[in-house]
Amino acid sequence: MARLWRFFRRFLRHKKQLIGGFLCIPLAQLADIAITVKIGGALDRLRAGSPTDFLAGIFWIILGLSAFKGVFRYLQRWWIVAVSRYVENELKQELFDKLVSLPLAFHARSRSGDVVSRVTSDVENIRMFLGPGVMYTLGAVVMVPASIALLCTLNAPLALTMILPLVLMGFGMKFFTPHLHRWSEAVQESIAEISSRAQENFSGIRVVKGYGLAAQQCARFDEASERNRQNQVNLGRSRGLTHALTHAANDLTFVTILVLGGWAMIDRSLPAGDLFKFIDLTFKVFWPIIALGWIAGMYPRAYASAGRIDELLAEQPLFSDPHDALRLSSPRGALTLRGLSYTYAGAAKPAVSGVSVDVPAGSVLGIVGPTGSGKSTLVLCLGRLLEPQGVLELDGIDVRRLALSDLRACLGYVPQDSFLFSERYRDNIAFGSDTELSDARIQELVELACMKDEVAHFPKGLETLVGERGVTLSGGQRQRTCIARALARDPRVLILDDALSAVDTETEAQLLANLRRAGEGRTVIVAAHRLSSVARAERILVLGKDGRVEAQGTHAELLERPGWYRETWQRQQAQKELSVL
């Protein structure tokens, strides 16, 4: 219960609506009871030949009471149900904020379909439980004692025996709950599974189609769907048991009433009208109890979901800013790396190991090395997207003493996978900037990225919407857009991770020239495969297969030494010379 209590407390924060809504409950219930009493009274007075003038009055009273009840029912629903929506949104927002703050390590190990289903399906479960749960529980809290008290005034022993089946029900519930819990968890997990499978399929649809994997994908999806069905059916069975139990308690009560009530009538200690009232009231006592039983059936599902949400909320960012974090007002962009290493969770060996290098402000650092040598990893460490071991300094200050946002504020990053958002083209560029960008500035950036001609050909120019991940752009267009986005923030340190791999030679030459111009005064870090892109760098870092620095120096220096760099350079040259032949 403690688990859900925390979520329940979020409800309680919306005091005004809740109090208003809850005040409505007894008022509406009172009106309801008054209607019953009025009808009961009327029935008592009805005899053959009795006067009928009171009937019209009763009719209008019933209508009046019903209208009265209606108003409060309306307010009750409107306020209380709305609160459950507020809470849902707050919860979603909180989860979202949590998710964007979590480190890459978390995102790499979790399946996005699963995460999404926590934010959607699980939150929904909580809402569906707590919303009506709150309403009906409180309704029952008001209604049950009131009705029982009223019943007691009619016939105390009869009223008190009704408690027995309730106790029985309580015990029975205890017995079924473990099953409910088990299947609820299974259901939530299988929903997440379905969502992951669908998610993967849709985002890899080109490969799915290209390899004709539809049948296989359908089979896998069906499998997940079937698993979900099984779990749901089992959960349904457990819920059926609780449902039957609640009704059994209800029915037993009526048996009791029949026996005792019949007996009391025979004894003539109970007039017929009273028995009618009694039955009607019992109905009213039991309706909230049946609702409670229903809620008890939902509880395990909400409980399982709460657990999954808690898991997310309990995830911690790798690090948080120190409270005495230093602020950098005007960073220069000098980087110092000392023995920088990073090992991925679960990996046997470090991906980057013992990298030491000085990058003076305004200089260019090239990072080269074979596939999988750790270039991207190293670059991610610079922005502390991965938290490396060793020392990393910006302008001579250990980045761990800096506010994270200050460090990232001076970085412009072009990711290797050139990710874009499905927004307007211009929004994707503006995404990079902390401030609003003028049209002129965006044009300038588009030109810098050699995209001017192509953007002009887009159906709506800068306003054109880009598909998810940028699917409606060509590979090279995506990359260049990412470059424009990085430049948009006028970064002190520009990081290019294999950012020219998908552009042709002509555009590359143009881009390099533009970048050189735009990079003037900036620190530029270039990870690349084509050595020509780094040849002009002040310093080149050659990473080996094991993630260690194999050599470093200028282009000329590296050419003098035998090693990977010289070999590769010579091969690249040879290929070109060969091809002239």
Binding site: A48, L63, T120, Q199, V259, T371, K460, L465, D504, K576
Partner: protein, 615 residues
Amino acid sequence: MSSTDLDPEEDDLVSSKAWDNAILLRLARYAKPHARLFYASFGVLAMLFMLDMLGPWIWRHALDGPVHAAVSARERDPAADIGTFVRQFWYWVGGYLLLVALSVVFRYHEVAQLNRTGQTVIADLRSRLFRHMQSLDLVFFDRRPTGALVTRVTSDVENLNEMFTSGLVVLLFDFVKIVGVLAFLYWLNWRLALVVTAGTPFLIGVSLVFRGGARRAHRAVRARLSRLNGYLQEVLQGIRVVQVFRREKAVSARFAQHLDGYLAANLKTIFLFALFFPVIDFVVSAIQGTTLWSGGLSIAGAQLSYGEFVQFWFYLALLVAPIRELGERYNILQSAFASAERIFDILDTRPTLEPEREKTSPPGFSTLPLRGHVRFEHVSFSYTEGTEVLHDLSFEIRPGETVAVVGATGAGKSTLVNLLLRFYEPSSGHITIDGHDLTELDPARLRRAVGLVLQEDFLFAGTVKENLILERESVTEESLEEALAASRADELVARLPGGLAHPVAERGATFSTGERQLLAIARALAGDPRIVVLDEATASVDSNTEAQIESATRKLLEGRSALVIAHRLSTVRRATRILVLHRGKLREQGTHAQLLAQDGIYARLHRLQFAESAG
């Protein structure tokens, strides 16, 4: 680039003019294969209903019979022997107990059976929906955020569960119940029953008034939800960009906007239904009040006995309950209808490509292996009207030939691949393989014959081996080994703990970009493809490995047709033919030496690349 059709605002709001009945009928069609489950559900509900009806009957007989007799006997003579009455009374109680026991059993089945029915039907519908989506074109997927699509197969489908349980079964049953009870009421006392019936037009009127607004509101809710989830999904995928650019606050604000929209839509439904229930309740009270009034008059006028009235009153309660519940259910129904519309919207989307069948092919053709003779004849193509991406393109790739395509970025190279694999249909011209138009070929067969490496390739969660094999029969241990060696992925696999059994994370996130490309090449080569398509397959691979792959694959490509797209001219130098694509037009064509001699675009590109590395 698509323009208007990308607009999520319009795209997401599925509006259909379908009436509730039409939707219900269609849903019933999907439920039909599971008719048995529905019959069972009906059976359970009918039993419960009967038991519910029997209850009051027993009560009446117990109270009016023995109890009444005993009371009157005692009234006449306080010392009268009422033993027989008491015994009779106990019989009735025993009967009632039996009834209670039975109804408990059926209560269990009420939930279990209905739930089973609903879940089975939606599981079926979900599979159907997913299968249908697999047959849709890329155009469909290009336009829609994955998160929104996922929402349709998950949340929207789940929302239908209520529809099949509360909806089809209970609704129908409630209806039967209402009609049944009403008929019974007429039988009991037609005059009073007439009074009751007089209220129904009000009920129907109220429902109709609310329906329009409710449906619109629920549609908005579903659309907003789908957009919300789409955004969430997208941000998760781009998380590193968000974090490096410190856009956490900005995306959070955007998400908040989506949430606000979602909330506003929800509040609207809450408002409508908060209003709806009390109104229905009020009408019901009015019916009850009127019945009491006229019943009272009849009792007073001695046209009706008190006992009869009480009985009528009891059964009236049986009528009132389903009506109230219908009110409650109406909300669920409208929400489910909104989801159903969204699901039907997809099911009604037809693939724009022609029916995927081998139409004019000779018998036995479809089992014949393709040789892989590719021919483009005057092919033009545009993604959106008005912007031609490819213009009048003609070339051919004979088995054993490697054709390379070079050209500026955005020239339309990847588009060639999209057309060859029939992801899209050329707007004019033909593409043939072995002389058969692509439209005559079963796309599945075509694609089985192709080994494909996309510019933006994709690894599935699973193991490395699963990703390489992809359940193709054509992949054998030897061919896999050979492919791994040719793509230089063997070294990588050897390094992985577990080797081929090494787990792959979603999208292959734990591999470097180059490593992913190596695996994709291995995958393409492993299936003994007739046609190999490599779109920038080694763009992120170091030149050493690239050279090794180039020479290793040359042997593998013997006898196969290959289409190779590359920016690095060194990789295409040896191609049988090089096509130079410029702004969607084929500008030059020939061998490396011929093109250099021609001194056109290719020669210029070549000089540039050379100059660049020299400087």
